[in-house]
Amino acid sequence: MEVLARPYDLWEGIYKIWLIITIIIYAVVAIPALYFMIRYRYKPGDREVGDQEHEGHWGLEALWTIIPLIIVLYLATHGFAVFTQMRKPPENALELKVTAFSWGWMFQYPNGKVVVASAIRDTEDKKCRPEECYGVDGVFQQYVYIPAGVPIKVLLTSQDVIHSFYVQPAGVTQDAVPGRTTYTWFQINKPGEYWVFCREYCGQWHSRMFAKLKVVPKEEFERWLRGELADSGHESGKGAVANINAEAQEVVR
């Protein structure tokens, strides 16, 4: 069966391991604790003072040092292995340059095509309605086309402050730091619309700094990239974002 997105499949593996271990540990601690709380209550005339001799037990204390030690070493080592896999973008990945700015994203495709997704802000006299605030209006927000089933390597930087690029279905987060280029990669297998959010606080409109990925079959993506689709995003939205575009492109170069 094909997974929805990568490297989310790897993340799910480690998530499940953690969840199981966590539930077991919680039970191992909480069940005896609750039992003692009920069983060893103060009872006048019967149980007025606790056992003064019960001050420690070397064997037990060693046990609950060594077993947790083994568990965390296992988790860290397994996490190490998974992380190494997660960080390696596949060879055939499509390279996407992403420049973050306050407040939005500029995506640059290998053939030079540019898509901008900038925050839809409220103004003194107009607040957007909830569905508008996070909608794709073709002016401020354009769809970011992504081919289904193709790994995408993202090269990230920022034009001003630190932002963070989070692709929700793929479960990857990577900061966009001014003056540096960082990378991450993801792959989404099922066509549809998906969220990108900014995850590093970046000022006033941090919460509206999102982008919508439109994942489409590979052929359709290629037609879009060549500008053959009606909704090509190439011409539209020029007015509002032309400046940002120009500035952002400066930085990418």
Binding site: L10, W11, I14, Y15, W18, T22, I25, Y26, P32, F36, M37, Y40, R41, Y42, V49, G50, D51, Q52, H54, E55, G56, H57, L60, E61, W64, T65, L69, V72, L75, A76, G79, F83, M86, S102, D122, P130, C133, Y134, D160, I162, S164, Y166, G171, T173, Q174, D175, V177, P178, G179, R180, W195, F197, R199, E200, Y201, G203, Q204, H206, S207, R208
Partner: protein, 536 residues
Amino acid sequence: MREAVHVEKPWFSASIWEWIFTTDHKKIGIMYGVTSTLFFILAGLMALGMRLELFSPGAQYLKPETYNYFLTVHGTVILLWWAIGVWASFANFLIPLMIGARDVAFPRLNALGYWMFFAASVIALITLFPGNQIMTMWTGYPPLAAKEGVGFAGTTALFVFIWHLTGFASIAGAVNFITTVIRMRQPGIGFFNLNLFIHGVIAANVIQLLGVPSVAGAVTMLFLDTYLNTSFFDPTKGGDPLLYQNLFWFYSHPAVYVMVLPAFGIISEIVSAFARKPIFGYKSMVLAIWAIAVVGFTVWTHHMFVSGIPDWVKILMSYTTLLIAVPTGIKIFNWVATLYRAAIVYRTPMLYALGAILMFLIGGLTGIPLGLPAFDIAVHDSYFVVGHFHYVLGMAVTLSAFGGFFYWWPKVTGRMYSETLGKTSFWLVLIGSNLLYFPQLIIGLMGMPRRYYDYPAIPEWVTLHQIQTYGAFILAFGLFIAIVALIKGALTGEKAGPNPWNSNSLEWRIPSPPPPHNFDRPPKVEENYCPHKYRK
């Protein structure tokens, strides 16, 4: 010149003048407590404002810059005034009593420390006036924090001064308490029969002494970058924003142990007193506290797992981060073992302490995956993190602080609080907190980023945000009842004896409230003295 420790009257009959010029550790402790609690309430009210805003998607009542201001104050104040500052209150009042001393080693420095803290409080209040808001978040990352103005940082200078002044108070307190405990113990009280609360506080203070200079340097450079055009952190002029993060977290990760180690100490005091039994595994408790304090300095980059640092550093600090779970686990197991063959008396402080243990366990278990880069990559800066640290701070630390208030209230005021009100407050706080914090974990796993003023109208997200807001108000009501219980107790409660909980610790061997000089004669401790024992 007046003697530094000159005290004539018990604390409750002091005049305003005496409060201002006092060097008495008990009065200073009470002043810290009152200041911390008032600022805790301020930060809590701002959080309620944020929760109302987040009740539905779209802009509701607040502007984004107001939300960001509330969040910055909520974070900064609740950490520096409450999770760190409240322990200065407990430490001041209790340490001299627990080691049989008449005051701390440097009473004047102690007073100076409090007044620095007070000055920081004034600055925090100045941010309430229009034009002075800070929107840096409590972390103040540049380049954002170096850009003044409404869209970005607000007034950076005030943020920097808050760190400087609270940092000064912390260092003054640390020097003082460490010296006091080393030099002023009664004969017969040594490293392995000190109160666990003192071990917690002193370990925390050692961290302060070593760590605060790092963050003070970081915010000083931030100040210079903002106002004098230096470029420590400005990449366009050759600086590096990640330098700030390293310096900041070198202190601010260990700082979470400054918040939680004294809380562990208080839990130990309360649990053994109400279990009427010595604490289980005292020695391993002490070693665990100190191990956490030391290893805590080697894990800071787990806050930077997605910032662009080299992968090998992430792996290294992933191991060290997870190692801290071991001594932490030891403490939890020892508390549970203390309940075995105990005679548990269920009074309000005990409920708070047991609640703190079971909730801290959730905080700890949700912290482990954050130490794994492979897991963290999906939840970094999400609500999962917000849920995790609220379980640790909002529950373990806050429940311990309130447990401590109820536990030592009879000692401090000489009067008992109302048990009914106390227990009611506990259950409200526990239920409200879980309704507030558990959905944060779930919505975080679904991807909701933190520090968001607004969010898309995804139906599950809306529901989870609404549950949080209901929980927040239940919690706030519970805390309100707790404060009413305490104040009412202090004013009209029954008179309390010197040792209402049958504890063997020294502070319970003097009258309640303690006389001006604590001990008329130096208290002699019995051979094999152990503070965590049952005493008739």
